[in-house]
Symmetry: C2
Subunit: 320 residues, 2 copies
């Protein structure tokens, strides 16, 4: 057999973003108690990074109005790294106050998407990140700032997004004081070749500050894209339990990479995520009941684990 690739036997992190990217896209408003139960059970299943919500005005996203309470709860769980999304300085101040471990600031590399979704140009988002960095440093909080570059592989509004533009945004975010940067295929336009090329180029710029890859499964390529990103050296991937979420510009399409399917793919390739897949599948079933009427995605829940799959118990918790 040929030598194993460099990433074999490595560790990887699945960042659960179902409570944010998932719940913000669906009609059901999940009660805080159930969200807390979700976070608790996800932690028990071995998940150690969770984006629990978003500090946006409650009138815009009533589904996420309880984010401060969720951060407070999540921070009580041992070794859980708690992220939130913040769209602006006001949100960042709430994240700092809540002592979130990380705040993700979305920036759209597509001008059209940026104006439509964030009502700001990419340059204005970069300027806001500089203000967040100043606020963070002044506060003494340890909250990391992640610049998340969306529509990195194309945009349903403007179409093509040039890789050079994505990389310019990345450099600007780093220059403005972002501690981490990420790339997101917001609308499900990425393919494995594009993923590998863009993430390799991004790594040249950001090195170890290149933090996370975020894929949607709109055209069935989320897991192929994760594999391509792994090859480019990424070891952290956003995903949502049951693949919930989606994009308002792609009606009927699948949502995010499904956490349980991704956990299986990685574990089956001997990449340790610390996740006990059976527990994650049990949690998926419960969340599915809470979200009755909403469409869940993914394949593993139906097909089951292969006979050849070594039980998750072999996975030592990667944080302890």
């Amino acid at each position: 057999m040929p030598p194993l690739p460099q990433w074999a036997h490595a560790r990887a992190v699945i960042r659960e973003v179902g409570l944010r990217d998932g719940l913000q896209s669906i009609a059901t408003v999940l009660p805080t108690d159930q969200k807390i139960e979700w976070i608790r059970a996800a932690h028990e299943a071995g998940q150690r990074e969770i984006e629990v919500g978003s500090f946006v005005p409650a009138r815009l996203l009533p589904q996420l109005a309880d984010t401060a309470e969720l951060v407070e709860y999540a921070k009580t769980l041992p070794d859980l790294f708690v992220s939130v999304l913040v769209p602006n300085l006001k949100g960042a101040e709430r994240a700092l106050e809540a002592q979130a471990d990380l705040m993700l600031v979305p920036l759209s590399a597509s001008e059209a998407h940026s104006l439509a979704n964030l009502r700001k140009t990419p340059e204005e988002v970069v300027a806001e990140v500089a203000r967040m960095r100043a606020a963070r440093d002044a506060s003494g909080a340890k909250t990391l700032i992640e610049g998340g570059i969306g529509t990195a592989f194309g945009c349903t509004l403007q179409g093509r997004v040039e890789p050079a533009q994505v990389l310019r945004c990345m450099q600007s975010l780093l220059d403005a004081g972002a501690d981490r940067v990420s790339l997101a295929d917001t609308v499900g336009y990425a393919n494995p070749a594009a993923v590998r090329a863009l993430f390799e180029a991004a790594r040249e710029i950001a090195a170890e500050r290149l933090w996370c890859a975020h894929f949607h499964d709109t055209r069935g390529l989320a897991l192929a894209n994760v594999y391509a990103a792994l090859e480019a050296g990424l070891t952290r991937f956003d995903a949502t339990l049951g693949g919930i979420g989606g994009c308002p510009h792609a009606p009927g399409a699948s949502g995010n990479a499904a956490s349980e399917d991704l956990a299986f793919m990685l574990a089956d390739m001997d990449i340790d995520t610390g996740i006990e897949i059976e527990r994650l599948l049990a949690l998926r079933a419960r969340v599915g009941q809470w979200l009755a009427g909403e469409t869940l995605h993914g394949t593993l829940w139906r097909a089951g684990l292969p006979k050849t799959f070594r039980s998750a118990s072999r996975s030592t918790n990667l944080y302890t």
Copy 2:
């Protein structure tokens, strides 16, 4: 940007196996007229390799009883490479008589699966391939013999299948006179790391006689596995329109890689398949009507082509 990988801008072939691997797995018996229309429209959409059926006794697979007629029709289409599956010498004789371009002989690397499915050990299949080769050479026919090694990534009956056993089967098939060899993940157990490792090892043995990769989407990894096989140098992939097919040992699971999704992924990576995806989607809709009540799979039919996708018209037909 980093240099493009070696396979960029290459060509690849999607071998349509829906008429065989797809139809043999479902209850509906498609009339010969509709199969002929399927073959005609697939050819019109740019498909140039089609497995039209299987020369097995009609009492075993009544769905495929018209294979000889389909070969005869398919051979009339310009530049269409016509394959059939043959389980034994008797089937091979029919394939030679029909002047199929290629006959695929299935061999299960798993002893348990081999005995359950083929009622032969792998060694007995190899011996049968030697007899087929003798018959082919004696007949003067140009029909190529492909040894298709199934359960190459594991088996629902016996569990693990050792890569060394798969490679031994491959060497034996070549020694017995197979012109081509292929690897199939019959039950949807493969992951991209395993695919890359096994296909790279297979390439060391078979070089350009390593012909095709066959993946099922049972756990959502068919396209990720195709990408990994591409990296290992493969340029020919089995797929079924609408992802029809499946495995009797994985009830409810998805079937094969969906031809239209695979055609999109490859085209979007600038790998030319000669297929006009819009036509393939139109054909999928018709076949879906013919197979009313059966489950079709795939994502592209629902999500549509991305705005950034360059029209299929750029794809020059790769055979003319």
